[in-house]
């Protein structure tokens, strides 16, 4: 089993079929890479969403706290 092409150029050219073969491989690996990295993006988006949610909660709690403090002396 040895390398089928004389030179790198011949390897890229693949006597005429090169563009098709490389195009197919390129699209395949780009699509697979997108699939593989999508979870990472979702993780980041989820973290931002959680932090935003907790900031809203914190603000809501502080508003309630003020309201209950204001109500006490009456």
């Amino acid at each position: 089993m040895q390398f089928q092409f004389e030179s790198l150029a011949a390897f890229l050219h693949m006597d005429g079929h090169g563009p098709f073969v490389w195009a197919a491989y390129a699209v395949t690996f780009v699509a697979l890479a997108a699939l593989a990295f999508q979870p990472r993006l979702q993780r980041r988006r989820l973290k931002r969403e959680l932090e935003r949610q907790q900031r809203i909660e914190a603000r809501r709690r502080s508003v309630e706290a003020q309201r209950s403090r204001a109500a006490e002396p009456a």
Partner: protein, 254 residues
């Protein structure tokens, strides 16, 4: 006792922790196998007598086509498990499997079309396998579109599980009827890829690629399922801690 692990498997948290250990190994295996397989197939395997070098596309077309179909069955089976045993986790696996399967079907179609150009001179060949693959892509898109249409997650899960089951029943019928239709209209042209008569020197790189693709599929499915678990269970304390744990280490490092 045997049922105990089955229901333990059902708890998302247990699944998340268990898969954390497997993920790195699976990723390593798929990168190595696909890397080796591609180099082997592109550079070292002999070219095909009739089709020349364009034949090297087989090393990604066949694994993608395999997984496109297997992916649909995996999606349908996890949906069925969810419907029958009401297991939330298997619904999440189903929802994760749908986009992965659709992308793999698209890859199989694209590589098949690009392969068709040097062989038959046209990008789109109404060959039986390519046509069935196109219909499979529509089945996937139907499941994904249905999933998006419902506002409530639980209802979307059950509806998609049912549609996937209906699809599984129809796939063999669709494949057979398309084969019959193809032989009716183009009996003369060669069958697309005769795997049985493949020469060993071409078969081993193909086998490596197929195993590599299966590892990659398993890894991607786990990764997507883990993310969906976090999205669905974001209110639970273990997810909060996990996310906080992440942010704390990052804040320390940052």
């Amino acid at each position: 006792m045997a049922w105990q692990w089955f229901h333990r498997l059902g708890s998302p948290r247990w699944f998340y922790q268990k898969t954390s250990a497997w993920m790195p190994w699976l990723a390593l295996a798929s990168v190595l196998l696909i890397g080796a397989g591609s180099v082997w197939g592109l550079g070292f395997a002999p070219e095909d007598a009739k089709q020349g070098n364009s034949y090297r596309i087989i090393y990604i077309h066949v694994p993608a086509a395999f997984l496109a179909l297997a992916g649909y069955y995996i999606m349908a089976i996890s949906g069925a498990i969810g419907l029958i045993w009401k297991m939330k986790l298997s619904f999440v696996v189903m929802r994760a499997a749908a986009p992965i399967g659709a992308v793999l079907t698209f890859i199989a179609l694209f590589t098949g079309a690009v392969w068709g150009k040097p062989t038959w001179g046209t990008y789109w060949v109404w060959d039986a396998r390519i046509t069935s693959m196109l219909i499979l892509l529509f089945l996937y898109i139907g499941v994904i579109a249905l999933a998006r249409a419902f506002s409530r997650e639980q209802v979307a899960d059950k509806a998609c599980a049912l549609l996937a089951l209906v699809g599984t029943v129809n796939i063999p019928i669709i494949y057979k009827s398309v084969d019959w239709w193809f032989t009716l209209h183009q009996p003369a042209t060669i069958k697309f890829t005769e795997k049985s008569s493949i020469d060993p020197s071409m078969f081993y790189p193909l086998l490596t690629m197929i195993i590599g693709f299966y590892c990659l599929y398993a890894w991607t499915l786990m990764a997507h399922t883990r993310e969906k678990i976090l999205q669905r269970e974001w209110r639970t304390s273990w997810v909060q801690q996990l996310m906080r744990g992440k942010s704390m280490t990052e804040s320390k490092a940052g």
